[in-house]
Every structure is written in C-alpha cells, then in structure tokens.
C-alpha cells in the first residue's frame, strides 16, 4: 500500500481549469493543497471565452472556483507567483511572492498548471492588428460575444457600432509558421474555436455571413467533425487559403482580403470585421521558472514530457498538466489534471490541513408544509427576451415563497438562499437542467435537506412569441409537483474496495496499475489470450518512442502485481448494482464467476475497419495500417526496400456513413513516412489526404516529412484515388486527381497503406451490460454533466482509451491515469449513499402477486419471505417506475413521481 511513501501537501501552480481541477481532486483525495495563481482571480482562460466547444459548459466553472475557495483543504493564494523551488519529493521548499510579501511554503509535490497565453499578433504588420479597430483576436471577439461581457452579448463592430454583415476568420495566426513567429506547431484548438465563434455568430443573427480562411480544418477530437458538419449546414463558409494581407478599405471601416483560391486565382472580398484565430503559447513566466529549476523545455517552448509518462517532468515529484505542456483544449487539460493527481498519489501519501467538510443532518423537512424556492439560471445561448419573461413570471407564480436568479456560483447561491429563506423545496429552471442535477442535489444536502426535494424546469424549445404562457405552464407544473414529493429514504452502504477493468490493452493495463498501487485489488478482464491489445502492433508513438519495449515492461509489471487478478479469454456477461457496489458475472472458458466491485472501468479499445475499396483483400501489398505497422515490426526490410509507397488517408472516415475523424491516422502516416525516408531516402512516398490533421506538436513531424521529400496530394470525396494492380508481382498503380496540377496523376507503388476508420471494439455490447450511453458515432458518451471527460453516463463507470474516441498511445495513457484517479475517489470512501429516485414497496399492501418481480426490466424486486412481501433494493432500482404502474395492489410508490403528481398535472396545466 505504499507504506514507505512520504506524506505531504501538494502545491498547484496556476489556477486555470487544469489547476482548479487538480486542486479539487487532490483535496477530495485527502491532500492539503496550495493553489497559487498569478492574477487576482481563479479561472484562467475560460472566463474570457464565450461558450465552450463542443458543448457549452461555461456554467461548470464558477461552482468549481467557489468550491476551491470554500474548501478548508485548499489554500488559494491569489496575486502570487512562484520565485524558486528547491528540495525533492516529500520535501520541497517553495518561495512564493504574494501581493505584499515573500514567503516559503513547504510541500510534498508540485503540479505545474500555469497554462497558456494567446499569441499577440501585433508583429504581423500586414494584418493591421492594433491599428484598425475592426481587426480583433479570437479572444477579443469572444469577449464581445459574451452576454455577461462588456458588450452584453450584442455584436457590434468596434469602429462604428454597426451590426456586422460579413465577418472573416483567419486561421493559424501565430501557429504553423516559423518565418514570422517561431511557432512551427499547430495550436490544435483554434479551428474548433473559430467554428464555435462562427456558429454562435449565426445564433446571434442568422443573416451575418461568416467565412473561415484556413489551411487544414482540424476537427480531430470527439464530436468535432459532427460540429464541423453542423457549422457547414448552418452556412458557415470555409475557404482553403492562407491570407497574407488585410487591407483597410480607404474612406471607410471595411477590410479587404485578397486571397488565392484553390485554383490559385486571386480573389478579393470585403468584410466588416476580421477575427484572427491566434495560437497558444505556454505561459512565459512559468516557463522561465521551469527552466530555472531545471525542468526540461522542448523545442516548441512547452514543458517537455514523454508519451509514456504524460504528466511527469524530468524532475521526480514535479508534474505538469494543461496548456503549459502543449496546446491542449479544456477536455484534454482536465484529463491531464486528473492524471497528475493519480501520479502524485503514487509517490506521496495525503496530508490534509483539516478534516473534510461534512453535511448538516437533514432536517425533517417533510413534516413542515412546503416552502418553495424557485431558482433560475440563464445560459449564454438563451434567447435574450426569455430572461426578461422569466424574471417577470418568477414573481407571479403562486406557491413560490422565494426566488433567486443564479449566475456563476450556482451551488453556494442556492445553499445560502435556502438557508436564508428557510425554504424546504426547490424548483430549478435552466436551459438544460440535466447538466445541473448533481449541483442541485449537492446544494440541497449542504442546506440540510433531503437531496431529492426538487423539480427541474427545462427552458428549451420555447416559442419566443408565446414564451409567457409556456414559461408559466412549465414553472407552475414544477411548483405543483415539488410540493407533492415525499422525501425518499436514503441509505448508506459500504463500498466494495475492488475495481473491475474491462480490456487488457494499454489503457486497461495502465488503469489497473494506477489503482492497484494505491492498495486496491483489481480484476482485469481481457477477451483474448494475451494482454496488450492493439498496442502489440504499434511500432512507435508519433514522437518516435518504442511502444513494444514499453508494453513489455507494462505487462510484466501487471503480471507481477499481486493485487491485480488478470482473467484472459474472459468476457463480462452481466452487471448489476451502482457506484460503490457492483456485481459482474464474468465468463471465462465456459465457466461463470461472480465478482463484486465498487467501480468499473471500460477500456475495450478499437480497431480499424476493413475497407471494401482500394483492392483491399483482393491483391497483395495493399495493407491496412495496422498490418503495415505489424510488417514494419516483423519484417521491416520488405517495406523499407520499396521504391515507392502510397498512403491513403480517411479511408471510410469522415464519410456520411461514418462521419467521425479517426484522429491519429494522419500522425501515424507522417511518423511512418519520416521513418521510411530516414531508412531509405530514395523511396518515393506519396500521401493522399483530404485534410492533414497533424494537430498540436505533431505538426512539426508533418513539416519534417515535407522537408524530407514526402509528397502530399489532396483529394476530394467526389474524386477518390483509384488503386489498380499492374502485374502478378504485386506492383500497383494509384491514380489521383491533383488539384494543383488540375489533372489526374498516376503513381507507381510497391505498397499502399490504407488508414481506415477506427471504430470501438465491443462498445455496444458493453454499453448494454453496463447501462451507459454511446454517442452518435458509437463511442462511449461522456457524462451528461459535462466537464467530466472520463466519466461514463452512469456513476461509478469510467472510460479510457479508444472506446471513448480514437486516440494515440500517449493520450490513452493519460486517460487511463485520469480514469484511475476518478475510480480512486470512490474506492477511498467507506460508504456510498443509495436511494432517492427509486420505487418502494409498502409491505402492508403487497398481495405477493409477483407482478413486479415479472415486470421489472432489471429483475430487482424479489419476495422477501421474512416480511411476506416484495422487496426492492434501493441500490439496484433504476427508478423507471414500471412496477409502480403495474402493481395491481398499488403497493409500490415512488415519492419523486407519485400518482398524485400525475393525476393533478392536467388540472394544474389547465388552471
């Protein structure tokens, strides 16, 4: 159990989303945390942004900030910077400069999370940035879009206050450029954020023309390609061209852009405003600090890290997460933050500042007559008129004893208001109440109430013309129902201290290691004979690290670990239960075994599809990319000696049947091409692509490939390449239409590698068994609560690796560590609470007819012979209410959706 670990507190440097998340998880795991932030407030970049892609989740930040401020185990130090660090694990001594003095803080481990700074485009003198008011950076543009920002969300152009009719976005400003700005890498987030800004502009006013000038549209993440398609369907224009000059139109406020279209013809277009999608830089001051204390910095000026240790610096005890270590988006930054917590746990035992805060004992609220608090929240995307209507309605609905509009810190505003007004029930209205459920329940608990004494009101799909009626109906319904809730009984159940990991690939193995080293037993279920999954066919990471060597080490440490029970040739057949207490039936070689566990981690991985095009399977030398990679491991000569090879990208991906981008195929291709060129500089290598998505620091490799003479030819879906077999020797010819030469070209090749779409392995099956949702591309859906990137849609189930979305080795390892950190949060608790929105049998009324036993889709009710009545385990009941409706004796009740509520509903609505 790591008894010889030193104990201590942890310092987190940087209070952006990564730092905040790390601090909260650390405090949850029992550590005292010093959170150091340079500016006067927490939040980092996010408070500057208008909505967040792909799903808006701005409302999730403020509650986290105030949780940091209120947690007695988090010592928030604002206006503070770190001057120096000395010492080692368990015993660091940090010099902190605060607003008015300098002090030394002792701490056991350090997480650097100092984040990003947007690139300053002033030095691009052809863009008129700084000299023309209508040229803005993307950060400035998002400020204008924010409803709570200086312009109150009303889009006006800075020069004359007119509503713009045409807006242009220029991509890659301060990225992918070594001539003017020394940043060869791609900033990875700006294609998506430009799409987001354009879509939100359309939402503000459908008639504003939006045009994005780009080089490659990099929508490589989970759900991003769907977002791109949606943007295009909303008439966001995309023009593939890098723009060099923005010319102010003389005598006015407009701006002219001259660009070369795809046919190389020069075109001119005038815009009202131009937004520069500026790249990301690591926080300068923090990089200086890192350098000073000996942390390695890479060629792109980010903190250096290895793919197999994705949150570690070269100094033991000092970790890094978020934008300081690469251009990462919010989801990635949060995943890394969770991963760094799991790494801290491995080397340092927790030492807290004070015991964790508890909840007040629930008062007997049911005994009192209902006193309803109506809380409402405005989301940035909501129609502007709606908020005014809502304010008005809130005051007029009978039965409401107090109202509050919550912004920012939803949690404490509700808790405080309940206490202040002595309310005992809550109606909460927001655009997507499902997102706020946990916050609401937490607020009720903190206020000393039963956490299920609330109803939600959904503010979507309201017709602005009749908003008043619709709002009134919906709120009235909520108020009537909440008064009728009987507070359901709650029970504490001991946590089963074991994890079940499904999948023995890199992600599953890493999760198992990270959980077991904290002293908890793990059962790892793998359906194949051997461990390693798809990793066994991978030669190297995109950075060039040897995957086989790493994997061997990982597998042997799993086999050595007594706490990990590996079951190969085994599959999970059934799963029941809830976070803290699951039971799974695992079938291994014909035998079934029941395993109790407190958490489940799904890491079933994925595989490339077998294409039905490009002569795959019909002729030799046409490989699937996994096959090529295997060949390079087992018989490298056969490929390295070739005269010519062709790589075809997006095979099956990004087509109507399978719209997602498979994320790492572009990086695989440039890595492999560069390696082949190093071995055999004379080989001709062609890459036929639709969009090169070498996002982030992978871009450097793309450049290296071009420098080494790899030829890249773009093709369109309407004009796919054609593969022909030339002879029986396996020589091939690939014909592709070259958009620059404007004619088809024929390429002779000794091999063709098909980078086909990656799909999940057994996602559907596992989703059914574990009762979690998939997204529309068949990958596991993240928790609907958002900003929980490795949580599945049900509590206690965590996700890692390709099953969640295609990703490379390094990213899978990060997720695995993050999933482990989340799992440990439950495993380290002694009890979990069950009950709530569930059905309950009244034994006096039960006629023992067994109707519920037969109808429950989850086989929950059984006849308890001691009481002579049916019994429903509140931990297992899923709360559907089917048995409640079926029971002929009306012996089953559901306090949160009672007969009374449903029978009274029409009268309330027609009143």
């Amino acid at each position: 159990m790591g008894q010889d670990k030193p104990k201590g507190s942890v310092m987190v440097v940087g209070g952006g989303i990564a730092g905040i998340q790390a601090a909260l998880s650390l405090a949850g795991a029992g550590y005292g945390v010093h959170l150091i932030e340079r500016t006067p407030s927490l939040g980092g970049m996010i408070p500057n942004l208008h909505r967040i892609y792909p799903l808006c989740a701005c409302c999730k930040l403020d509650p986290r900030i105030s949780a940091c401020e209120q947690d007695p185990n988090i010592n928030v130090m604002l206006d503070s910077t770190v001057l120096d660090i000395s010492g080692d694990t368990g015993n660091f001594s940090v010099t902190v400069k605060t607003a008015n003095d300098e002090k030394t803080v002792n701490t056991g481990a350090i997480i650097l999370a100092a984040g990003i700074e947007p690139f300053d485009p002033t030095k691009y003198d052809t863009y008129s940035y700084g000299s023309h008011p209508n040229v803005l950076t993307s950060v400035e543009y998002e400020q204008i879009q924010r409803p709570l920002g200086p312009e109150k969300g009303i889009l006006r152009r800075p020069s004359d206050g007119h509503t713009p009719k045409k807006i242009a976005w220029l991509q890659c400003v301060g990225s992918r450029d070594i001539n003017q700005c020394d940043a060869p890498y791609c900033s990875s987030v700006c294609c998506m954020s430009a799409l987001k800004e354009a879509v939100n502009t359309k939402e503000f006013d459908e008639d504003i023309e939006t045009t994005i000038f780009y080089m490659d549209m990099r929508t490589h993440g989970k759900g991003f390609e769907d977002y791109l398609n949606e943007a295009v369907s909303r008439d966001v224009q995309l023009v593939r061209s890098r723009v060099h000059t923005i010319d102010p139109v003389p005598g006015g406020n407009d701006l002219e852009i001259v660009y070369a279209g795809e046919d190389e013809q020069l075109q001119k277009e005038t815009f009202d405003m131009v937004v520069l999608s500026v790249g990301l830089r690591p926080s300068g001051e923090a990089i200086e600090l890192a350098r000073k204390i000996g942390v390695h910095i890479n060629g792109n000026q980010f903190v250096d890290k290895e793919p197999f240790k994705p949150v570690s610096t070269n100094i033991p005890g000092i970790f890094v997460c978020g934008g300081l270590s690469g251009p990462f988006d919010i989801g990635e930054s949060m995943t890394q933050a969770a991963a760094s917590v799991s790494e801290v746990a491995a080397i340092l035992g927790p030492e807290s500042f004070s015991p964790p805060p508890g909840y007040p004992k629930p008062a007997k609220s049911a005994a009192k007559s209902p006193k309803v608090l109506l809380a409402y929240h405005f989301c940035p995307g909501m129609a502007p008129g709606l908020s005014a209507d809502l304010e008005k309605q809130a005051k007029e609905i009978p039965g409401v004893s107090a109202t509050i509009r919550v912004d920012g810190d939803i949690l404490s505003s509700i808790t405080d208001k309940i206490k202040e007004t002595d309310a005992n029930r809550l109606v909460f209205a927001s655009c997507t109440p499902a997102v706020h459920k946990n916050l609401i329940e937490e607020a009720l608990k903190l206020a000393g109430l039963n956490p299920y004494l609330y109803e939600t009101v959904d503010l979507r799909a309201i017709d602005p013309g009749t908003a008043e009626v619709q709002l009134r109906d919906r709120i009235r319904m909520g108020v009537a129902r909440v008064a009728l809730i009987t507070p359901p009984p709650l029970r504490q159940i001991p946590v089963v201290k074991r994890a079940l990991v499904v999948g023995g690939g890199i992600a599953g193995l890493e999760t198992a290691v990270a959980i077991s080293r904290e002293g908890y037993p793990v059962t790892l279920v793998e359906k194949e004979k051997g461990l390693g999954g798809h990793g066994r066919h991978v030669k190297s990471t995109w950075q060039g690290y040897d995957v086989q060597k790493y994997l061997k080490g990982l597998i042997s440490s799993v086999k050595k670990e007594k706490n990990i029970k590996v079951m190969t040739e085994a599959t999970v057949k059934e799963n029941k239960g809830f976070a803290g207490k699951f039971v799974s039936i695992v079938k291994q070689k014909g035998k079934e075994k029941s395993i109790s566990h407190g958490v489940s981690i799904l890491a079933p991985g994925g595989n490339p599809i077998e294409p039905r095009e490009y002569l795959y399977g019909k002729t030799k030398n046409v490989y699937l990319w996994s096959e090529l990679s295997e060949k390079l491991l087992k018989d490298p000569k056969s490929i390295e000696d070739a005269n010519a090879g062709v790589f075809i990208q997006c095979v099956g991906s990004r087509e109507p049947d399978m719209p997602h981008c498979s994320n790492f195929c572009c990086s695989f291709t440039v890595r492999t091409a560069v390696d082949l060129k190093i071995k055999n500089p004379d080989m001709s290598i062609y890459v036929l692509y639709r969009e090169m998505r070498t996002y982030g620091e992978r871009e450097n490799l793309y450049k290296e490939a071009r420098d080494k003479g790899v030829i890249f030819i773009r093709y369109d879906l309407e004009n796919k390449p054609v593969v022909e077999s030339l002879d029986n020797e396996g020589r091939l010819k690939v014909t592709v239409y070259d958009p620059i030469l404007e004619r088809p070209v024929g390429l002779k090749a000794d091999f063709v590698s098909l980078q086909s779409a990656i799909v999940g392995n057994s996602n559907q099956e596992l989703a059914d068994i574990f009762r979690v949702n998939l997204d529309r591309n068949g990958f596991f859906a993240e928790s609907p609560e958002k900003m929980k990137p490795v949580d599945a849609s049900s509590e206690g189930v965590y996700l890692a690796g390709i099953g969640l979305y295609p990703k490379d080795t390094g990213d899978s390892i990060t997720q695995a560590k993050a999933a482990a950190a989340r799992a440990l949060e439950i495993l380290s608790q002694d009890k979990v609470q069950v009950g709530g929105m569930v059905a309950e049998v009244n034994p006096e009324k039960c006629a023992v007819c067994c109707t519920c036993v037969r109808t429950c889709p989850f086989s929950v009710p059984y006849i308890d012979h001691e009481t002579g009545a049916a019994y429903i385990d509140p931990g297992l009941c899923q709360g559907c209410g089917i048995c409640v409706a079926e029971c002929p004796a009306k012996a089953i009740v559901m306090g949160t959706c009672s007969d009374e509520m449903l029978i009274e509903a029409p009268a309330v609505l027609f009143a």
Binding site: E230, G381, C431, T432, P433, A434, D458, R460, A461, I462, D463, P464, T466, V469, Q470, D473, R474, M477, R771, R776, P784, M837, T855, P857, F858, Q878, G879, C880, G881, I882, V884, A885, E886, M894, T896, C897, D899, L902, I903, A905, P906, A907, L909, F910
Partner: protein, 136 residues
Amino acid sequence: MSDNFKPKIVAFYCSNCASSAASVAESMNKALPDNVKIVQVPCTGRIEILHLLKPFEEGADGVYVAGCQEDSCQYVTGITKAAKRVAYVKKTLEQLDIEPERINIYNLSAGKGQAFVDVALEMNDIVRKLGPVLSE
C-alpha cells in the same frame, strides 16, 4: 369547425429522451407550440391508464406519450408497456364515443431531435381537424 380552434393537448415525455431531444430541437431553433403542455415522467412505463384518461376529464382535446425507440429504451420495456396502455385507452375512448385518434404514442430518439417538436405539431394538426371533444 372554426379555424382558430386551439386544442388543449397534454404530452407525457420520458425525461431521458425529452432532455436530449430538446437540445437538438433548440439547436435547430424549433419551438413547441404553447398549447402543448408537457408532463415529464422518468420513463413512459410509469404512466398508468388513469393518468392518460385524467387529462380528458379535465378538458384536454388530445393526449400523447413520447418516449424512446422500442429498442433503445433505457429501461428496456418501458415504451412497450406504454404503447399497450395507449392502445387500451384508445378502446376506452371509443366506448365513450370519443375519437381514438385523440391519443397517440410516438418514438423519439436523441438523434432525431427535430421529432421532439414535429410530433407536437403533428398531434396539434390531428386534434385541430377533429375539433373540440364534444361532451354531452
């Protein structure tokens, strides 16, 4: 019947698909008509025959249930059970000399978000053609 007849419609929505479908509807700028009044249930399987008849007693002109697809109900059999109850209520309505078309069941899915609003409009049309319930 008069053209400005605005029927009173009660809609029972399962909260799972109602929530995800509503977000799609919202992103497509589709709104529900104000005469369709929603009652949410955890699963359509919770709805009993009495709950479906009650709105008619209170003066509704139409009632519908909107739940998941038959094969993707989170609670497996909820929507199938609801379909049976709706069929039963149709018969009951017939016996009371009320058009059985006044009650209906629809299958939504998270992917078909526009259906969230489309079914409301369809039901609205059906009931508008039928006119108000003629009570004796």
